[in-house]
């Protein structure tokens, strides 16, 4: 048996079948505790058509898909480098164009024009709402988490906590909570922005300062717990947060400056433009941050903390800074969502949310701003598409199965993400060769 599996082709074939069997279960019908095998048998036996050609059962389709994947995989291992070479050559001309100043600005202007025109190209109300609530806001959140995970290399699993702080701050400042608004004044939503940013940042510092001096995985678990704790408080402090019902009286954004009076309402398009402005501001800010002194310090700490410390960089200070910046971005996004939807309640602030944002960052490429924006757009559009036009047998909750699997698959096959940050790509390569102090995990084949 071991002999057979030692053969690399057998191993690959087996992996392809195993992966497709899992995929079959993921996309199959659900089961329940009363009929726990229904999901399993249904996944294999349910009727399916083979690409519309002939009627058959699901397992036949997946069996052939596994063979196809095995064939592609084997071919890729022999021919892949050549294909890659051709692709790189073909892309080198347009890529070189983007590296010149006019080329880059041309792309920025074109993308901006596209972003501004988008609501006029897509008029389906579902997609217009999705563009605000599920895409633009998530781009913002992914940009924020990218500072923590991508720039500083810290894993934050409680991102939702800061988002919730931002949302509840908005409700508090605008007087939508049972507890009295500050100074008894019902402020405009725009005033909630600095307050929410400050509070989320404060929470980030309080949580980060003790934890960040320890190993990276402690931070992950402490933030995981913190995300849960915030929900418990939101659920149980009836007098302050409104309990599990939350509140639905948060006003919309409105502007009263001199003669200008504008109220953002229920229609998504004005909100779309508002969030686009916010996204662009954050994009510019984080782009500048990336190449600033602070950004370089993060890179240094990520690559080799000991060396960074020896040249006078205080790792704790910069880690807390990254954590606080990420937290405040989430707080800001909380203000936008709360104002746009008017409604907040504790059960919308879940671990699922934190992991969703993490997937956007990992899929796009940790540390790569372009990648993260693209990743957020691709994944969120995909998940909205699945929600809008679900394939047969798809349940909304299935999305999270795919997201979990995607994290593992990305880490195995493409850890630097879809559009890798050049720097991050190189770092992972170096760590895999055993250079730098990033690598602390036992690899098994030590000589």
């Amino acid at each position: 048996m071991k002999r057979i599996f030692a053969n690399v082709h057998v191993k690959r074939l087996f992996s392809a079948f195993a992966a497709l069997a899992v995929l079959e279960l993921m996309t199959g019908p659900p089961g329940s505790a009363l009929s726990p095998t229904a999901g399993f048998t249904g996944s294999f036996r349910e009727a399916a058509s083979f690409f519309g050609l002939f009627r058959t059962q699901r397992w036949v389709v997946f069996f052939f898909l596994a063979l196809v994947i095995f064939a592609v995989w084997s071919t890729w291992l022999t021919w892949g480098e050549r294909v890659r070479g051709v692709a790189v050559k073909a892309l080198s001309v347009p890529r070189a164009a983007t590296h010149t100043r006019p080329g880059r600005w041309g792309i920025y202007v074109a993308l901006l024009a596209l972003a501004l025109l988008l609501p006029h190209l897509i008029t389906d109300p579902f997609w217009q709402a999705a563009m605000v609530e599920q895409i633009s806001v998530y781009v913002l959140l992914a940009l924020g988490l990218n500072v923590v995970v991508g720039f500083a290399g810290l894993l934050d699993l409680g991102f939702v906590a800061f988002y919730a702080i931002g949302a509840y701050t908005t409700a508090w400042v605008t007087g939508a909570l049972p507890t009295a608004a500050p100074f008894g004044i019902h402020f405009n939503n725009f005033y909630a922005i600095p307050i929410a940013i400050a509070l989320a940042m404060g929470a980030g510092i309080i949580l980060g300062a003790p934890t960040l001096r320890l190993r990276g995985d402690y931070l992950a678990i402490v933030t995981l717990g913190f995300g849960e704790i915030i929900t418990i408080f939101a659920n149980n402090l009836y007098g302050i947060t409104g309990g599990s019902q939350g509140t639905n009286t948060i006003p919309h954004f409105s502007l009263h400056v001199g003669p200008i009076k504008y109220l953002w309402g229920l229609t998504p398009v004005p909100y779309y433009y508002l969030t686009i402005v916010f996204v662009i501001l954050f994009l510019i800010g984080f782009k500048l941050l990336e190449h600033s002194r602070v950004g370089r310090a993060w890179t240094a700490i990520r690559e080799d903390e000991v060396a960074a410390e020896s040249v006078g960089i205080n790792p704790l200070k910069y880690k807390v800074m990254a954590f606080a910046i990420g937290a405040s971005t989430a707080g800001f996004a909380g203000v936008v969502t709360a104002s746009q939807s008017n409604t907040i309640f504790p059960s919308s602030f879940t671990l699922q949310f934190s992991i969703n944002i993490l997937v956007l960052v990992i899929f796009g490429g940790m540390g790569s701003i372009t990648g993260v924006v693209l990743g957020a757009i691709v994944i969120q559009t995909g998940s909205m598409y699945l929600l809008h036009t679900p394939p047969s047998g798809y349940q909304p909750q299935d999305l999270y199965i795919y997201l979990g699997a995607l994290l593992v698959v990305m880490m195995i096959f493409r850890p630097a993400g879809l559009v890798p940050s050049r720097r991050r790509h190189r770092e992972i390569g170096l760590a895999e060769k055993g250079e730098g102090h990033m690598n602390e995990v036992l690899t098994g084949d030590t000589p």
Partner: protein
């Protein structure tokens, strides 16, 4: 005395009345935390990373036990030797499935990264992905509502300690925990497997020069930790019911227990578990039950803040 003083004296009076009942309940919970914490601590000792998927290993043990009980327990609640047999069987099946899931996680989510010498962050992300995948997959296959387990025994108070009645359920957990902790302690201290785990935890490179098969040791570590986690999942599910979310909070607390005792330290994990269970249980007197999880989390942050090496200290490699 001020208002706060009255608050305290009032609550201490309650505490005195309820102490033993709360203590025993807390201790039983603590045994379960300890059993899960052992899984964290063993993997940490060998790989220096937190196995985030451990909560789902716990869950898988719970579901495995549930299906066994569902198949074997009829309408009448069994008693006597039948109960003992069923509980032992459930624990074994839970442990077996837990061990199987743990090796699966190691194989799929960790080993490809180890082969590539991936940085530590990649392991964490991969583990979280695996955990999240399993959690939602269980929800899809077995439903997302908590289900109570058919009881293999009659739950009634069987003894009184200092006047406090002790439920059968607690006795079962305490007995099962005692057996498993003793067995684990002996395995790690005396057997070849235990020796190789300790050797790899101390110095992997030297261990492999001495002929320890590192890959095998890592898999066996996952198996031992997974078996205890799965068994704990069954025991927990017997009392609280099973669901795809059942692993999250107990695993977070077990991790707290592992840190409290000193991560990488086996006896520390057990003691940390007992301590956390008891403190959490007694805290019910002072805070609302809804905030019990907050207490555990507060303990985690406090330990990390003031004594990150835990009570017994990190004793990697000297696992026993």
């Amino acid at each position: 005395m001020g208002a706060f003083g009255h608050y305290l004296t009032g609550h201490f009076a309650t505490l005195r009345l309820e102490f033993w009942a709360l203590f025993i309940g807390g201790l039983a919970n603590g045994v379960l935390y300890g059993m899960v914490a052992v899984g964290y601590t063993l993997v940490y000792g060998v790989l220096r990373l937190i196995n985030f998927a451990h909560s789902e290993i716990f869950m898988s043990g719970g579901f495995a036990g549930y299906f066994v009980m569902k198949a074997l327990v009829g309408t009448a609640v069994p008693s006597g030797m039948a109960s003992v047999g069923l509980i032992v069987l459930g624990t074994l099946v839970g442990g077996f499935v837990g061990a199987f899931m743990a090796t699966l996680v190691e194989r799929v989510a960790y080993r490809p990264l180890r082969r590539r010498h991936a940085p530590a962050l990649a392991y964490l992300i991969s583990a979280i992905g695996a955990s999240y995948f399993l959690y939602n997959m269980a929800g899809k296959e077995f439903g997302r509502v908590p289900i109570s387990m058919p009881q293999p025994y009659i739950n009634h108070p069987i003894v009184h300690i200092f006047g406090a009645p002790v439920q059968m359920y607690y006795v079962i957990i305490l007995l099962a925990g005692a057996v498993m902790f003793l067995a684990l302690d002996r395995i790690v201290a005396k057997t070849k497997l235990g020796r190789s785990i300790r050797a790899v935890a101390q110095d992997a490179e030297t261990a492999s020069l001495m002929g320890v098969n590192i890959d095998r040791t890592i898999v066996l570590t996952f198996i031992v930790g997974g078996a205890l986690g799965g068994a704990a999942g069954f025991l927990f599910g017997m009392g609280t019911g099973v669901s795809n979310t059942m692993g999250f909070v107990p695993a977070l607390k077990a991790f707290t227990a592992a840190v409290l005792g000193g991560i990488g330290n086996l006896r520390g994990a057990m003691i940390g578990g007992f301590l956390l269970g008891v403190v959490e249980s007694l805290s019910v007197v002072f805070v609302q039950a809804a905030y019990m999880d907050v207490v555990a989390f507060g303990i985690l942050v406090a330990v990390l803040l003031f004594r990150p090496t835990g009570i017994l200290g990190e004793r990697l490699g000297r696992a026993a």
